[in-house]
């Protein structure tokens, strides 16, 4: 049976419509994986001598054990954002004579072979070997390695439980961050010392191997929980019976003042508010708005005025970047309709422009309190806002004409990479680096004010030539119309 499953997955991978397109991303992932493997290997080998040198009085083995608590927290967080339970197209299998338990065990078993579980081994095994060379008891070291292996598996299955419990809401990551943050804080301020507790428990287990029963039971319980969760989801009525939401309609009369663009603006606003994924970009606004707080209070950046430009572009443009990078893929689900309807492409695009420009203005106003950290910051934000309205909006609309990846609006919101292609990766360069470059050059050559003026000037130029730019951008969209239609009607 497993052979069949593997065969199906193999075909799914190589026969998918986006196989060729996604290949570049996959190669990048492989390189990333190799990089991490080498890094972990290096850590595993070098950790012991480094610790020995840095803390000659302490036992490196104990130090490492003290850090395992932090590792668990960090691992859990990273997995939450990046590791997904392996997906299997399960619907066609349900009516075939295959036991449900087999499907579930296969999915869970596959997850325990995930890269995330192998990665720590690259550090754990060499570290263990180094320990052996330094005369630690070989049985104890082996048990230690086994114990850590169990812990990675425990984290693995714990993560899926957390994910499935929080999958429904847009802000799913908040509770996890809160819990792990408070655990970390409790530990850090030594209210409850988890890290020493865990370290002691590990050492006790090494001395008394019978205690291995505890993590083993924990793992078994977690596996069983996962099994139950998945089993309850393996019935069709869960996927077929969509939860019908009570509709709240609003007329949004205020959009009328934008004239011909109004119907599209209403559509866009409804798009954002009624679908999981775009709605999450609204929540990201809050994070983006607070982004400056990471930098401005820090005295290191006091003299790095060019950072103001960067943060300004980011803070006032967070919605622009987040929403704009997937134009027109947001509408991919009904792109055929738009293309056969009596619409003016330019109005459609202008509505997106107005929306993005408005967001920049609103975000600028909201970011005014940053003036607390100095007038220069307000000035830089203002210049960045003008630049965003004049240049970045057009850049992002133009880049959209190269978009060929569809987006399923109803999918899980946070950290969903569907629809992300080369366009989104390349877009960062003109969007962020260009304004920083312009600003820095004039800042270094002349002074801060000149840097500001150059950004403002670029922005004003963009606004002045808005009509011409839109005509050009529209023609680009028209050129790639058929390619987009065919790409958007393909399943990934």
């Amino acid at each position: 049976m497993i052979k069949h499953f593997l065969n199906l997955e193999w075909k799914q991978f190589f026969r998918s419509a986006s196989f060729g397109k996604g290949l570049a991303l996959k190669i990048l992932m492989v390189f990333l994986a190799l990089y991490f493997m080498v890094t972990f290997l290096a850590i595993g080998v070098a950790l012991y001598p480094i610790l020995k040198k840095a803390f000659p009085e302490d036992d490196p083995f104990i130090i490492v054990n003290n850090f395992i608590f932090y590792w668990i927290i960090a691992d859990l967080l990273i997995r939450f954002f990046f590791q997904k339970l392996p997906v299997m197209t399960v619907k066609p299998l349900l009516t075939l004579p295959i036991k449900r338990s087999k499907v579930i065990n296969y999915v869970l078993g596959k997850s325990s072979l995930s890269f995330f579980n192998f990665l720590p081994l690259f550090a754990i095994i060499p570290f263990g070997i180094v320990l052996l060379f330094n005369g630690y008891n070989s049985i104890e070291v082996l048990i230690w390695m086994l114990l850590l292996l169990l812990i990675t598996q425990i984290i693995n299955f714990l993560n899926f439980i957390v994910e499935s419990l929080t999958a429904e809401s847009e802000v799913s990551f908040l509770p996890l961050i809160l819990v792990s943050g408070s655990l970390f804080a409790l530990n850090y301020f030594e209210v409850v010392s988890f890290s020493y507790g865990l370290s002691n428990a590990i050492i006790a287990t090494i001395k008394q191997p019978i205690l291995m029963v505890v993590p083993m039971t924990l793992l078994a319980v977690l596996y069983w929980c996962n099994y139950k969760l998945l089993k309850s989801k393996l019935y069709l009525d869960n996927s077929l019976q969509s939860k019908t939401q009570e509709v709240k309609t609003s007329e949004m009369e205020w959009t009328r003042r934008f004239g011909d663009v109004a119907p599209f603006m209403q559509l866009d606003l409804k798009l954002i508010w009624r679908n999981k994924r775009p709605r999450s970009s609204v929540f990201i606004l809050v994070i983006g708005l607070l982004y400056g707080l990471f930098f401005y209070p820090n005295p290191i950046y006091k003299d790095m005025a060019f950072m103001y430009g960067f943060i300004g572009v980011f803070v006032t443009g967070i919605f622009l970047i987040n929403f704009g990078q997937f134009i027109p893929a947001w509408d991919s689900g009904y792109y055929k309709l738009l293309m056969s309807q009596n619409i003016k492409y330019q109005d459609y695009l202008r509505s997106k422009y107005v929306l993005m420009a408005m967001s920049v203005v609103i975000l600028f106003v909201l970011s005014i309190p940053y003036v607390y950290f100095g007038w220069k910051i307000l000035l830089a934000h203002f210049a960045a806002a003008i630049y965003n309205i004049g240049v970045n909006t057009h850049v992002i609309l133009f880049a959209g004409s190269f978009n060929r990846k569809k987006i399923d609006l109803n999918q899980r919101a946070a950290f969903n990479y569907q629809g992300t292609g080369a366009v989104q990766w390349l877009l960062g360069i003109p969007l962020m680096l260009l304004p920083i470059g312009i600003f820095s050059i004039f800042h270094f050559l002349i002074n801060f004010e000149a840097g500001i003026a150059s950004l403002v000037l670029c922005g004003i130029l963009g606004i002045v030539f808005h009509q011409k730019l839109m005509v050009f951008i529209t023609s680009k969209y028209l050129d790639s119309k058929h390619k987009m239609i065919s790409a958007f009607s393909q399943d990934n």
Partner: protein, 235 residues
């Protein structure tokens, strides 16, 4: 109204559609039948400029479809669910389409009132998004949306599929009425020979992308079609 000449569409050397010439006059109710892969949806997609022809062209009211967009104001269509915007309620969707076609709310409401029994109380004022409606009800909404704004050409791909019998009968009456009394050119495709012969004045049979029959509907048409398709089965 719709003139097709030397039209063909080729995917990887595989010619899926080849129509030498096809002339659909104004006000005709035109039916397209054929087995799966015969090229019905391909033809409609070409007609709406959703795909590009490999050779030839279609003229919709003397406008070259793949060059100008001026056919859009008087042409409307419902091909599949991707013509619906899932996160709108049916009303919002109708108003949105209405707005694109230069109709105000009163106009749209007026039109919707005529379709009250077609909707069977399951579409309007349900406080549901289109994505949460059943397949059949989605189809009803899509078909009615294609009637908004007094289009002169209406294109419906498989309009009878997924509909319940009552609605099928009502839809047939609606289509007949459009062509006979309002002079609308209606193009439909179907697998259901009975429905097509009931509704269409003229029926064209496609087979592997080519026109093999072009019939003016009469008493004998259904029989002829049935013989044709059972013959195709025997071959």
């Amino acid at each position: 109204m719709i003139v097709t000449s030397n039209l063909s569409k080729t995917y990887n050397k595989n010619r899926v559609l080849h129509i030498e010439s096809l002339d659909i006059p104004k006000g005709q109710s035109f039916g397209l039948v054929g087995n799966n892969g015969a090229g019905k949806t391909t033809y409609f997609s070409l007609l709406l400029d959703l795909i590009q022809p490999t050779t030839g062209h279609i003229k919709n009211n003397t406008i070259l479809v793949h060059e100008s967009e001026d056919w859009k104001p008087f042409t409307s269509s419902f091909i599949d669910e991707s013509f619906l915007i899932g996160y709108l309620t049916p009303e919002e969707y109708f108003y949105f389409i209405g707005e694109l076609r230069g109709q105000n709310r009163a106009d749209v409401d007026n039109l919707l009132n005529q379709f009250e029994d077609f909707f069977h109380g399951e579409i309007l004022k349900q406080k549901k998004y289109l994505r949460d409606l059943s397949k059949g009800n989605q189809k009803k909404a899509g078909i009615v949306a294609a009637l908004i704004g007094n289009p002169e050409v209406i294109i419906l791909d498989e309009p009878f599929a997924n509909l319940d019998p009552t609605t099928q009968i009502r839809l047939k009456a609606i289509i007949k009425d459009l062509a006979e009394t309002k002079g609308v050119t209606v193009l439909i495709s179907s697998h259901d020979l009975m429905h097509v012969t009931d509704v269409c004045e003229r029926i064209v049979v496609l087979e592997k992308g080519k026109i093999v029959k072009d019939l003016v509907t009469s008493e004998a048409t259904l029989k002829e079609l049935e013989t044709h398709f059972s013959g195709a089965m025997a071959n």
